[in-house]
């Protein structure tokens, strides 16, 4: 009857490779909330990037949303993330650059926020300075011309709040609030900001039709002899409508803002900025990293006739000696009509994204 020892050993051997079991004592776990991946994405592109150390949870996203809209994060408690990243503007604002709590304007256009988990290179902001969404969320809070806070003060205010300690416990199993947990929650909320319900998305899924003008606009977009927009801004098989890569698109002959070059220190990166998505353009004016163009027409005219040569200009900016691709008036109008099919009004009104 000593067989049991051998069989016990057998069981132990079989279990030896399995993962550690959770302790038997009952512990609270936040509720997992996998990203709701739209069909147009799962059909066409690889899965989103979610950091292993910050899984999406119901409680984490809810906390992140509350923080995103909470003015407590700014030093004098007058602005929130949403002040410059407003849902009705596809999470940007409508000024070329944005002012912080002291009324001082920055140098860059507030970036719209959507489909962020599909930025596979995980370089965020116009110049790629921020290597994750979690790390990005640290910066605006402490930037002197944005929220101008001290993170220690922010954490103290959150800790002293009636609700936040419990909300952090629900999200992260500790009511001890830290900068890291605060930015993790904000990043979780930001990853839920998914936009995939434009007219063009529905066209791709066979649920809508394009007008002849929109169809011609798509052809201008995809034609190397015309717009040639697709090498940087996606295509019907890449519904992100950006490559999330850094290019000098010929805005200036000399640079006042080095862009990626200011981050890498490599002069060959000077004047390069990340291609923004063309999705939701209708709501995100003004355009470019410094918001210099007020209208979509100005942007199209720039690519058509306004390119400036510089040492780091991307070779995809063809015909730079002629100022650009010189589109006809009709092609410009058609291109614009196509670009507007990338607008997703349901994203602006999604109740999950409102304060």
């Amino acid at each position: 009857m000593k067989n049991w020892i051998a069989y016990l050993l057998l069981i132990v051997s079989v279990l030896a490779c399995s993962k550690e079991n959770a302790s038997d004592t009952e512990t609270y776990e936040p509720t997992p909330l996998p990203l709701n991946i739209p069909q147009i994405f799962s059909n066409n592109i690889i899965p989103p990037v979610i950091p292993n150390n910050n899984p999406q949870t119901v409680e984490g996203v809810a906390l992140g949303k509350k923080l995103f809209f909470d003015k407590t994060l700014s030093a004098n408690q007058t602005i929130a993330c949403a002040s410059c990243h407003a849902p009705q503007n596809a999470f940007t604002d409508n000024t070329p650059t944005s002012d912080g709590i002291d009324g001082i304007f920055g140098t860059r256009n507030s970036m719209p926020l959507f489909n962020l988990a599909w930025n596979y290179g995980e370089r965020f902001t116009w110049d790629g300075k921020e290597l994750s969404l979690e790390r990005q969320a640290i910066e605006p809070v402490q930037n002197p011309i944005e929220m101008h806070s001290d993170w220690d003060d922010v954490v103290d205010r959150l800790q002293a709040d009636n609700d936040y300690p419990e909300l952090f416990r629900l999200a992260f199993k500790t009511s001890t609030i830290t900068k890291e947990l605060t930015t993790k929650a904000i990043a979780q909320f930001e990853r839920t900001l998914i936009s995939a319900n434009s007219k063009f998305d529905r066209f791709s899924l066979g649920q809508a039709t394009l007008t002849p003008q929109e169809q011609n606009g798509l052809n201008v977009f995809m034609d190397e002899e015309k717009g040639d927009c697709f090498h940087c801004h996606g295509n019907p098989n890449n519904p992100l409508w950006t490559d999330n890569v850094f290019h000098n698109n010929g805005l200036d002959a000399t640079f006042t803002d080095l862009g990626l070059g200011g981050v890498t220190g490599d002069p060959s990166d000077n004047g390069k900025f990340r291609s923004p998505s063309l999705r939701n353009l209708a709501y995100t004016a003004p355009y470019m990293h410094d918001g210099r163009f007020a209208t979509l027409d100005q942007v199209i005219e720039f690519y058509s006739t306004g390119l400036q040569l510089s040492p780091t200009i991307d070779a995809l900016m063809k015909k730079v000696d002629q100022g650009g691709v010189n589109l006809s008036a009709q092609d410009k109008a058609d291109l614009k009509a196509f670009l507007l099919t990338l607008s997703d009004p349901s994203f602006l009104s999604n109740p999950d994204f409102q304060d």
Binding site: K2, N3, A6, Y7, L9, L10, V12, S13, V14, A16, C17, N44, I45, I46, Y120, N219, M222, D223, E224, E225, D228, F230, H231, C232, G234, N235, P236, N237, N238, L240, D243, S268, L309, I313, D314, A315, L316, M317, K318, K319, V320, D321
Partner: protein
């Protein structure tokens, strides 16, 4: 006896259960990896000098490279008796990212022996399915539907006449459009004659000499053929001819 059997079982399990699968035929099979290098004639090109090196092409223009990305597929090893081993997958290389220089097929085990290497430049007609590969879509590697769809084989961007009047070139290769709605396959089958005597696990070293795109048999004049070239049938066919001399087997490391 049962006790001993059970004890033996658990010892055996404990020893083997966590290990990687052993190669069943360690003596007669070899695992194959590929390592691609890139040169401009005798100058090694990698991520550190890709965009900074000024180079002179066969026609005499000084150029700077902005980016080079390319696709090869259906890598095959053909042994001396004519048996072909086809590796799964495709290799998408971005010269900016040196991780992409290496390629290990998922099933990379072949019998030892003497082989030659063969692969497809781009995708052949069967594989060049519009939108079918999510990783390539995510890299915006698609070839426009109006030009036959599918994927780019090569994206080679740069500036020429950089010492005088710099102008962009976009040497992009893919399916050739004969006329509106009428397309012609434009992939190439690269067969490299160098015999590879594989006796054990091996890395096959292949080199791409970028300058050959401008050299052989068509001396490329960027002043005439710079951009746009994707819809230019003759340019596409010249690229298909020139790619034939771009690759070389450098040897094997084993």
């Amino acid at each position: 006896m049962k006790q001993i059997f059970a004890l033996l079982m658990c010892v055996a399990l404990a020893l083997t259960s966590c290990g990687e699968d052993m190669d069943d035929n360690a003596l007669s099979n070899a695992n194959i990896n590929f390592k691609f290098s890139h040169t401009w004639d005798n100058t090694l090109i990698n991520s550190s000098n890709l965009t900074t090196q000024t180079l002179t092409n066969e026609n005499g223009e000084n150029i700077n490279i902005t980016r080079i990305r390319y696709l090869i597929s259906k890598l095959q090893l053909v042994n001396s008796s004519g048996t072909t081993f086809t590796f799964d997958g495709y290799k998408f290389t971005d010269l900016e990212n040196e991780d992409t220089y290496n390629f290990t097929p998922e099933n990379n085990s072949i019998p030892t022996g003497t082989y030659t290497l063969k692969f497809v430049w781009g995708f052949n007609e069967e594989d060049n399915i519009d939108g079918a590969y999510l990783d390539l879509n995510s890299a915006s590697w698609n070839w426009p539907a109006m030009l036959g769809g599918g994927y780019h084989f090569l994206q080679f961007d740069g500036m020429y006449n950089v010492d005088t009047t710099p102008s962009p070139f976009n040497y992009h290769n893919g399916t050739a459009r004969v006329s509106v709605g009428n397309f012609e396959q434009n992939f190439a089958i690269i067969e490299l004659e160098t015999p590879l005597n594989i006796t054990k696990n091996a890395t096959i070293n292949v080199n791409m000499n970028i300058s050959e795109f401008f050299k052989n048999p068509n001396t490329w004049d960027l002043n005439v053929l710079d951009t746009p070239l994707m819809p230019n049938y003759n340019a596409q066919k010249m690229m298909q001819e020139n790619v034939m001399s771009v690759f070389n087997v450098e040897g094997i490391t084993q």
